[in-house]
């Protein structure tokens, strides 16, 4: 039926929201390498949004630039989504493997990334009155990506439409839980570290007498 290069498959998937992911699944296509590049580009576009948006639209606090929140908002959120979705859907008869979920989700993000980039680019050439163009392009990408994401999850797990939506909602809940536990773990380890360090100091003082 279809024979594409990996990039050709990406293009096919994006421009055929209804059947694209089913085809991708049927043909056992999708490249992990491309998926990871897409996630990286998501991070890049978030940095660009903060740094390269036209001056008259840029509301960022320019005195401090911290890349960590952006990294968390892109890469960490993405992988939490993948893991959360996998953990949830494995329990609920989903057919998607971890790799598949990762690839399909990443492919679905492409319109958002591209439209954000276009929106950032044109923000350098328009004035505030023409902001609607920027917003329109941005939302076009966002909605497109959401539609693709629903289709991707539907194809990956072979769910019905309703079940897909429900699973996606609970994936968000799972993400919250994962992040909560991660933070909890982090603070616990910090306390363990502090405990260990204070014991070390105590001993060090005693030895020195």
């Amino acid at each position: 039926m279809y024979e594409f290069t990996p990039m050709g498959w990406l293009k096919h998937v994006i421009f055929h929201p209804v059947e694209g992911f089913e085809d991708l699944r049927w043909k056992k296509q999708g490249s992990m390498k491309i998926a990871l590049i897409i996630v990286f580009l998501l991070f890049v576009v978030m940095v660009a949004d903060r740094q390269l948006t036209g001056f008259q639209f840029n509301t960022a606090y320019v005195k401090v630039f911290n890349v960590v929140p952006l990294l968390v908002q892109s890469v960490v959120y993405f992988f939490t989504w993948v893991i959360g979705n996998w953990a949830l859907c494995t329990l609920f008869d989903g057919e998607g493997t971890l790799k598949k979920i990762c690839i399909y989700s990443a492919y679905a993000l492409v319109p958002y990334i591209v439209c954000s980039a276009i929106s950032i680019f044109i923000s350098n050439f328009i004035v505030q009155e023409e902001r609607i163009w920027m917003t329109a392009i941005y939302y076009l990408g966002l909605i497109w990506s959401v539609v693709l994401m629903i289709q991707a999850m539907k194809a990956a797990h072979q769910y019905s439409f309703t079940k897909t939506l429900v699973s996606m909602f609970f994936t968000l809940v799972a993400m919250l839980l994962i992040l909560f536990l991660a933070i909890l773990l982090l603070s616990l380890f910090q306390q363990v570290y502090v405990f260990g360090y204070s014991i070390y100091t105590e001993i060090a003082y005693r030895i020195r007498g």
């Binding site: 639209f57 005195k63 004035v127």
Partner: protein, 582 residues
């Protein structure tokens, strides 16, 4: 060594303000700035020559035990024309009239005389001086707080004030408060008397010239907080008995007011509030600054309540008095920090000066700053606890910013340029200077420069405006080039389309002579077999592609021919139709 010591001594002896001057930048962060005002002197009772009040031979003799210092003075007022400084010396129950040049006493008034009988003041907290058409000269208004009256009087001599009108508690159903303790007083050009009364939160009490109660003026609004909304919901479902036990949400009364040369009344509210902390009222009593749009007008320190580790307490903003200078600058006094915040007509922060320290022993540091007044380039702050008046004078830096702001507010951006440049020389972080210079550049159509200035000031709205003009100018200047590029692009697209249609290619790839390799050639070595296979495969696929291409071309040609045929047919039919028509 001695020289070094002497030098360091001279450095430490240099009279600086007892605080670091600062200003707020675009992000509302406090940034260091230059001092726009410096303390020149402090006026105490000694400098006022208050000992004259104890000298029986002096014409200002009051009594042997007359206090020679101020005591908890609450208000002052300057008569610009007569160069007089009036001080309400609250705890001493008297009014002082000082000369504005020498700061020496010219008059002392312990009460008003009404045709022989004298009624003395009791804790007067407010004084206001204005020209009066009725009296044909100066009229003194005194908020005689503990006597529950406002007095309008005129000066007879250095010791006596003659009563003109007395304004007492209104006998009106509208006035629902039991007490009448006027704190501050003001009169407009028609000599209506406005007075801020203790515990009245419906605005200032307004009297007509004759003494009739006319109503309330310029109430604050209730600051909508979560608590207020919650209470409104509770009130809706509460029973009558519960309602009685509930507190009501009432607006905060304002603490003080002042009137500018155009007759607008400005009010200031002491308790920290987002709405209405400083208002400019029109004659109907409404704020003409649009506070509804996102509370863009901020007064006092922007940072909110601040923890002071030295004083071991949290500073909450407490704006206690304001004064409108003759040039229209708004000076707002913060009781809590002892700072004076100066704003221009458009409520842009000009500068901040003054401080409060735990020791109060330095000039320029306040204990209980109660009132602020301006005259010329001087600002006076009355301190109730230190019992003195601190005199601030504009520095050279202050002079430049005031000149620049005056021109800027008139819209004379280009004229303000020199002053702004001087400001930047002294304080490179002064945001308004860059905005002013940017607007000047914009007026002179130097868009690139304007954009640079607005970017420095991080003024996005003005940048946006400048960018619009800059873009327009760019398009206008490069119109020909842009059109040429567009035409070229379109031509390129058309050419490519046509060439594709005709099966031509811009860069012709060299077609490999397939037969030459397929002919009688020496068989390759064994280790190259795979390569040969690959090559053969590639060749095959190329041949297939070539065949496909040819097929496509043939198809296209066929379809073109078909199109031509149909076109010809159509033309024929049209011609025949035309002929038939004829």
């Amino acid at each position: 060594m001695a020289a070094v010591t002497a030098m360091s001594m001279s450095v430490t002896a240099f009279a600086d303000e007892p605080y670091n001057s600062y200003n707020y930048d675009t992000w509302d962060d406090a940034v260091p700035s230059q001092s726009a005002y410096m303390t020149v002197t402090t006026i105490t009772g000694e400098q006022m020559k208050l000992e004259r009040l104890r000298d029986p031979s002096d014409e200002l003799y009051v009594s042997e035990s007359a206090p020679v210092t101020l005591a908890d003075s609450r208000d002052m007022c300057i008569d610009d024309a007569r160069k007089q400084l009036w001080v309400a010396d609250t705890k001493n129950n008297r009014l002082l009239q000082l000369n504005l040049d020498t700061y020496e006493i010219e008059g002392v008034y312990t009460g008003v005389s009404d045709g022989g009988s004298e009624s003395s003041f009791a804790g007067p907290q407010g004084v206001f001086v204005a020209e009066s058409d009725e009296l044909g000269g100066q009229a003194i208004y005194i908020a005689d707080t503990d006597n529950s009256r406002v007095v309008k009087a005129k000066v007879k001599d250095g010791r006596t004030l003659e009563l003109v009108t007395e304004y007492t508690k209104p006998e009106d159903p509208l006035y629902t408060v039991n007490t009448f303790n006027p704190k501050k007083v003001l009169a407009d050009k028609a000599e209506n008397v406005y007075t801020v009364v203790n515990a009245v939160n419906t605005g200032s009490v307004l009297f007509a010239r004759g003494g009739d109660f006319k109503g309330f003026y310029g109430a604050n609004r209730v600051n909508v907080t979560a608590a207020v909304i919650a209470q409104r919901i509770w009130r809706a479902i509460a029973s009558e008995a519960q309602l009685e036990g509930m507190t009501r949400n009432v607006p905060i009364e304002y603490a003080n007011f002042d009137i500018d040369l155009d007759g607008f009344i400005y009010t200031v509210t002491e308790i920290n509030t987002d709405t209405d902390s400083v208002k400019k009222l029109n004659p109907a009593g409404y704020n003409i600054w649009n506070n509804a749009k996102g509370n863009e007008y901020k007064f006092g320190d922007i940072t909110g309540p601040m923890w002071d580790p030295i004083a071991n307490k949290t500073h909450n903003i407490r704006l206690t008095d304001l004064d409108i200078s003759s040039t229209g600058l708004i000076n707002v006094l913060d009781f809590e920090t002892g700072r004076v915040f100066q704003y221009d007509k458009e409520c842009n922060l000009v500068c901040i000066f003054g401080t409060k320290t735990s020791t109060n022993d330095q000039r320029g540091a306040m204990a209980n700053p109660n009132a602020v007044e301006t005259y010329g380039n001087k600002v006076y702050v009355l301190d109730g606890a230190k019992s003195d008046i601190t005199v601030f004078q504009e520095t050279q830096f202050g002079k430049y910013i005031h000149n620049a702001f005056a021109l800027y507010d008139e819209g004379r951006y280009v004229d303000a340029k020199d002053d702004w440049n001087e400001v930047i020389k002294r304080d490179g972080g002064y945001t308004w200077a860059y905005i002013g210079l940017g607007k000047a550049a914009l007026n002179q159509e130097q868009y690139t420069k304007a954009l640079k200035y607005f970017k420095t000031a991080y003024d996005q709205d003005d940048y946006d405006k400048a960018y619009k003009y800059a873009r327009e100018a760019f398009l206008r200047d490069h119109f020909t080039a842009i059109i040429v590029i567009i035409v070229l692009l379109i031509a390129l697209i058309i050419v490519r389309k046509v060439m594709k249609k005709k099966g031509m290619k811009l860069i012709k790839r060299k077609a490999k002579p397939i037969l030459a390799t397929a002919g009688p050639s020496i068989p390759p070595p064994a280790n190259d077999i795979e390569e040969t296979v690959d090559e053969a495969e590639a060749e095959v696929s190329e041949t297939v592609e070539a065949v496909e291409d040819t097929a496509d071309a043939v198809e296209e040609e066929v379809s073109e021919a078909a199109e031509e045929v149909t076109d010809a047919a159509e033309e024929l039919t049209e011609e025949t139709e035309d002929k038939e028509g004829e």
